[in-house]
């Protein structure tokens, strides 16, 4: 492992990669601050640029954007009470009241230090857990992978559906259907191309991500007459107050951070859960653990209440890398986008990644830590100024998002058809968003579609067409039982709600 850490440090500490982490953190912070534009949009917009770099640098840039976006989301939660990403909603519960008491600077500092500590601790957990998990996952067989993918898709549908589980499952199926377009990987038989040569290679992953996130976000903002930058214009540089944290506050943070980092990391590892659930759980748990006197302060500017979700959401971001790097199965929409980008580089994440491409495996882990340091050094003093940058009117912001989306597709394919297809998918996605059809399950399904079919093919061929492979191995049966429980529970909930 020491050798791996050194490989990671050597790769991550090159001038180019440090620069990429800085750019990623900065860019991610700005995008993450804008309500509605989360880490997935930020990463999607970065994908075309990453293709100009080697895979390790590309992934480091994306990881920087990821952390930056989560941090940016916290900033808008505290300053504007407008969480940029769902994972930072809980931050606003105590961050915004604190800002209203004239302690915005302090709230930002607590958030930044908690994020830093949460992310750093989680990077350490990842450092020790990932290689051992990789070894364990080497024993996984095709049926286990197939069952695990079904579990991942069901779990993300369950957690991202806001009570609309069936809608989310429909999006999962739609994502898998889109992934089935093009040549069959084994027989080369074309499917669902309708004799259109442009579809022979299937639909590009970048196209689907750009269409369903970046482009449809931009269209939704126009359609709903939202102005994500309006609130930023109200922020006054003089009202932030001191960013110094006193002894008592530090002591409170020291109690909160270790326990919430553990819960955040564990939730992040679970497929489908992620930063949002981690932050709410940590907030709830912390409220139960503090003294009655402290409990009273929750919702009114409590240090514990601010530090808990901030630590947990950053720890969950690191945790989400565990299934991606060790099993090759992303646990969240954001890591699904990263998996798609890795596949674009010709790299298959999974248990063998740390053997075949140790520089990628370790440099990503190391760059997480570096990213945390950079976020703290770079962003904390710059927050007021970044908030000012956000006052860019939507008249400029929206065309620029559309421009980045279309450029992303153009540089990849030089094909008009792909641009039309992207616009078409974006229009449909915009309409579906209006009716709360979630997009992350679609992306995860689209990315996993090929792998899922491959593992089902192997399993069925090995079992001579019999579906008994689903319960022949204890591990497969356990994973499948968990999946079935999630489905039954959510359908039951839908029925009894009426």
């Amino acid at each position: 492992m020491i050798e791996g850490i050194l490989i990671g440090l050597t790769t991550a500490l090159t001038f180019q990669n440090i620069l990429m982490v800085m750019i990623g953190c900065f860019f991610g912070t700005i995008i993450g601050m804008l309500p509605g534009l989360g880490p997935m949009t930020a990463i999607a917009l970065m994908i075309p640029i990453t293709y100009g770099f080697d895979p390790a640098t590309g992934l480091i840039l994306m990881a920087g954007v990821y952390y930056g976006a989560v941090f940016g989301g916290s900033t808008s939660s505290i300053l504007l009470n407008a969480p940029g990403v769902p994972g930072t909603v809980a931050t606003s519960f105590d961050g915004y009241p604190m800002a209203q008491q004239g302690k915005a600077g302090k709230a930002l500092a607590i958030a930044a230090w908690s994020s830093f500590a949460g992310g750093t601790l989680a990077a350490i957990y990842l450092l020790f857990m990932a290689p051992s998990l990789s070894k364990v996952s080497l024993s996984f067989r095709s049926p286990d992978y197939f069952a695990l993918m079904i579990l991942g898709l069901t779990a993300i549908a369950a957690f991202s559906s806001k009570g609309q589980f069936i809608k989310a499952m429909m999006m999962v199926v739609l994502g898998l259907m889109l992934a089935s377009v093009g040549q069959d990987s084994l027989s080369d038989i074309t499917r669902f191309t309708f004799n259109n040569m442009n579809l022979t290679d299937g639909i590009s992953f970048v196209l689907v991500v750009m269409a369903t996130f970046a482009m449809s976000e931009a269209l939704t903002i126009i359609l709903k007459r939202n102005d994500p930058t309006a609130a930023a214009k109200q922020v006054s540089l003089t009202e932030l107050g001191s960013i110094k944290i006193d002894k008592e506050e530090r002591a409170k943070m020291l109690k909160t951070i270790p326990r919430t980092s553990i819960i955040g990391f564990i939730i992040g590892v679970l497929p489908g859960a992620g930063a949002t659930i981690a932050s709410f759980l940590a907030y709830g748990m912390e409220r139960n653990l503090v003294s009655d006197e402290e409990k009273e302060k929750f919702g009114k500017g409590s240090v514990h209440g601010l530090a808990a979700p901030e630590t947990a959401n950053n720890a969950a971001c690191s945790g989400a890398f565990v299934p991606l790097l060790t099993l090759g199965i992303p646990g969240s929409g954001t890591t699904a986008v990263m998996l798609g980008a890795l596949l674009g580089f010709g790299i298959q994440p999974g248990p063998r990644l740390y053997v075949t491409n140790p520089e990628i495996f370790w440099s990503v882990i190391m760059s997480m830590y570096i990213g945390m340091v950079i976020l703290l050094i770079l962003n904390l003093p710059l927050i007021p100024y970044i908030a000012r940058i956000l006052a860019v009117p939507k008249n400029y912001l929206i065309p620029l998002i559309l421009f980045f989306s279309i450029t992303g597709i153009y540089v990849m394919s030089f094909n008009n058809f792909d641009i039309y297809l992207m616009i078409g998918i974006a229009v449909v996605a915009t309409f579906m968003r209006l009716y709360d059809f979630p997009m992350p399950p679609l992306i995860l399904a689209f990315v996993l579609g090929g792998l899922m079919e491959e593992n089902l093919r192997r399993s069925l061929l090995l079992s001579d067409g019999s579906w008994t492979f689903l319960w022949d191995r204890t591990l497969t049966a356990c994973i499948l039982a968990t999946t079935i429980s999630i489905v039954i529970w959510h359908i039951y909930k839908t029925i009894i709600k009426k």
Binding site: I49, V173, L174, L176, S180, I406, V411, I423, L434, R457
Partner: protein, 156 residues
Amino acid sequence: MNINTTKIISLLFFIFSAFYLYTAYQIQVFTFDENAPFNARTFPIYLGYAGLFFSGLKLILPDPNTIKVEHRTLEYKKTAILVLIAIIYGATILKIGYFLTTSLFLIASYYFLGERRWILMFLLSFPFVAAFMYLLHGVLDIYLRDPFLQMIGVMG
């Protein structure tokens, strides 16, 4: 059963799944693969049935969280214009070239979204696109086809 837009979307998805399933059954597989445990049409067939199942479930089951969208407040006109500009951009980008079409696309989008500060609009189009092109083409070595710049001799 309440008929709302979500149900209509589910019905459309049901029809789409039925069409998908029909097309999946039409996939031509090799003769020796016809009776294999798994062939090119197996997975799509399962997906078709899954689509029918979930959209059917959404149609039948009650909808406790009905989403009500106030259509009158939505900005359909501006959105449609923006989509149209994007389509025109997509149609011309290969023939005319990246630099000119992208710059014009940005200016047109700024204008239709209500911007009238022409100097700012210019600065955030032509020079901005030139700088971005330099980053992609010059620094990152990502090829950008541009017949217009080639014609006037700026690009090799």
